[in-house]
């Protein structure tokens, strides 16, 4: 993060313009997520937001991270949300009870949080400028990230496995109440849609 003579914010390159546009798309989609009255549409706007975010990573030549964003967030997390929406039979059409009485408070908190984050980042990186074109195409590739991750960041990586373990156990605890053979579980579950 050093100041470089070869460019500045004053004369944006094509990539920087694309980056800003993608940021605007992300923001707009995110606003639509919380304002739309249809649950499934909200999930779809979330897909747009995540996709545009992946585009942002891509413009910054973090290729692996960009595709991981698509694969995990767009391809898995939102699908999980959609499953949740569908399993509870979200009605087709607008829902009326999506907004609570805490709406103004939520807006205040969100704006305040955004303000703090933007201030911190702008303050921290005010003069730092890295032209995105300078980053070579190999910088975000799987080999580079792999070498860094498995040499320098071993502990976070191993800690992550414990996190995944906790997540899986949490999932099973939430969805299965009884310990015991599967037969009794299935009986009690009942209401099976299609087996």
């Amino acid at each position: 993060m050093t100041v470089l003579a070869e460019g500045s914010y004053a004369s944006p390159t094509g990539q920087e313009i694309v980056f800003v546009l993608l940021g605007v798309v992300t923001l707009a989609a995110a606003v639509l997520v919380v304002t739309t009255r249809r649950l499934v549409h909200a999930a779809l706007w979330l897909v747009v937001a995540f996709g545009a975010l992946a585009g942002c990573y891509l413009v910054m030549s973090a290729e692996l991270v960009a595709w991981v964003q698509v694969l995990i967030y767009v391809g898995a997390v939102v699908v999980l949300l959609l499953f949740g929406i569908m399993l509870t039979r979200a009605p087709i059409g607008p829902s009326t009870d999506l907004d609570g009485a805490n709406r103004p408070a939520a807006v205040v908190v969100a704006v305040a949080l955004a303000g703090v984050l933007v201030t911190v980042i702008v303050d921290g990186f005010r003069t730092a400028y890295v032209p995105s074109a300078r980053a070579s195409s190999g910088a975000g590739s799987a080999e580079t990230i792999g070498a860094a991750l498995f040499r320098d960041w071993v502990l976070p990586f191993e800690a992550l496995s414990v996190l995944l373990l906790a997540a899986l156990i949490g999932a099973i605890v939430l969805s299965r109440r009884e310990i015991g053979p599967a037969e009794t579980d299935a009986r009690r579950g009942g209401g099976e849609g299609e087996g």
Binding site: G75, M86, I92
Partner: protein
């Protein structure tokens, strides 16, 4: 080792095409996919016909080749139904979400080496990325949206169940499929498809990594919802699955997406396991120029067609499995086997890289075999116990049900209701008083 690193980063041949070349390549891929869909549909029906001792479509064009086109045209002029309780935007978006990502995966498929097109040196591949295979996986998971959204937006329970089943199946098999790639990356040292093809110059990965290849062949059928894993469309139970409510071109787009996805997984199997565009061994040995110029495209398409034939063959040969069997195979067999295989491959590779001595090899292999034996023994004992428990439970259940048929909580229909014609039978069987009275009780006759 350093050669691997170099190979991984060497994408300098890509991204230098002039715009007209990009347009040509994009159009080529598009036409290739559409043609392959039409021809696969034709070939599928002809081959199925032959395998079932009938002719198959042979009226439209020579050998019925235009059958697919005729079907497409017919669908195009059919009424486009939009049922009344659908979510209109999502209903229209779903077929597009299913078919559009399917095409994109082919962008990284290598059809051949560098050739000269109008004096311009270029690869026979639209583009390549350092993370090319991730693109394919990402597009596969984007395709899931088509199923989920179609199922939900239709506002019909059959479609919803079909959509959920489809997507649950596709994501389950995507895990197993993605795990099989790990061994390939271990050997190739890169995720870029051209790099992977280069790494198979001497030996195909299908030979080196047979378990990975076999698991991939299973998962690619599951991933594309084809027989024997076409549960989402199990017409006996779910009508048509997620596209029950679709008609006209919207239905055609789901169909198209399925066949393009088949093309994608076939192309991927050729690229990752079957040596890509390289000529098979006997040809390349006697004919050194087989791997240069435009010939490789022929090898690619030949291998591609061969894998596609396996799809069709499976459809003719296999019955549909049950959904629980499908999920069991995916989660309890393919995934653990893949993970263990990855560890085995990585261990072997690490030993070779470290230039281990024979003693080390023997110790490691011996330890591995011993661990496998112990695991097998424990597994067998557990399985034995489970089998016995199951038998006992079954006998108990039979005993209970014999005593009281409704004990299991299952609704037992009245076997002698009036509209089954039991009144007539009752009259005929009048001399047996105990059954006659029970029928009267049930039907209120």
């Amino acid at each position: 080792m350093s050669t691997h690193v170099l190979a991984a980063e060497d994408l300098s041949g890509f991204g230098t095409d002039p715009w007209w070349l990009i347009v040509i390549k994009v159009l080529f891929i598009f036409v290739f996919l559409v043609l392959s869909v039409l021809l696969t549909m034709w070939a599928e029906r002809r081959i199925l016909g032959r395998m079932q001792l009938r002719l198959g479509p042979n009226r439209h064009g020579p050998f019925g080749l235009l059958q697919g086109l005729a079907d497409g045209l017919k669908l195009g002029v059919k009424e486009d139904l939009v049922p009344k309780n659908v979510d209109k935007w999502v209903y229209i978006l779903a077929p597009a979400a299913a078919s559009a990502p399917a095409f994109i995966s082919f962008a990284i498929m290598p059809f051949g080496p560098q050739v000269s097109i109008f004096g311009h040196q270029t690869h026979l591949q639209l583009t390549d990325l350092p993370v090319a295979v991730l693109l394919v996986l990402a597009m596969a998971s984007m395709g899931v949206y088509g199923f989920v959204l179609a199922g939900w937006a239709s506002g019909s329970p059959f479609a919803l169940l079909g959509g959920l089943r489809s997507s649950a199946q596709v994501i389950s098999y995507e895990i197993a499929m993605a795990l099989t790639f790990v061994a390939v990356f271990l050997y190739a040292g890169t995720l870029s498809t051209s790099g992977i093809v280069d790494a198979q110059e001497r030996l195909w990965f299908a030979v080196v990594l047979i378990p990975s290849f076999l698991i991939y062949m299973v998962t690619m059928v599951g991933e594309t919802n084809r027989i024997p894993f076409d549960l989402p469309e199990g017409e006996g139970e779910l009508v048509g699955g997620y596209h029950t409510e679709y008609s006209s071109m919207k239905f055609a787009m789901f169909f198209l997406a399925e066949y393009v996805n088949m093309s994608t997984v076939c192309g991927l199997s050729v690229t990752l396991f079957l040596g890509g565009w390289r000529a098979p061994a006997p040809i390349s040995t006697i004919w050194p120029d087989a791997n240069t110029g435009w010939w490789p495209m022929l090898w690619f398409i030949a291998k591609f067609a061969m894998v596609m034939f396996i799809f069709i063959w499976l459809r003719a040969a296999m019955p549909r499995v049950r959904y629980d069997q499908l999920m069991k195979l995916g989660w309890k067999v393919l995934i653990p086997v893949s993970i263990v295989w990855i560890i085995v491959v990585a261990t072997m590779r690490a030993l070779r890289n470290a230039e281990a001595t024979t003693t080390t090899w023997l110790v490691v292999v011996g330890a591995g075999l011993a661990a496998a034996l112990v695991a097998l023994y424990l597994w067998d004992r557990a399985a034995e116990k489970r089998r016995e428990a199951k038998e006992t439970a079954k006998e108990q259940e039979f005993a209970t049900l014999k005593a009281k048929p409704t004990a299991g909580g299952f609704p037992v229909p009245p076997l002698r209701a009036a509209h089954y014609g039991s009144a007539v039978r009752d009259a005929l069987e009048a001399p047996r008083p105990e059954r006659g009275t029970s029928a009267k009780e049930v039907t209120g006759a």
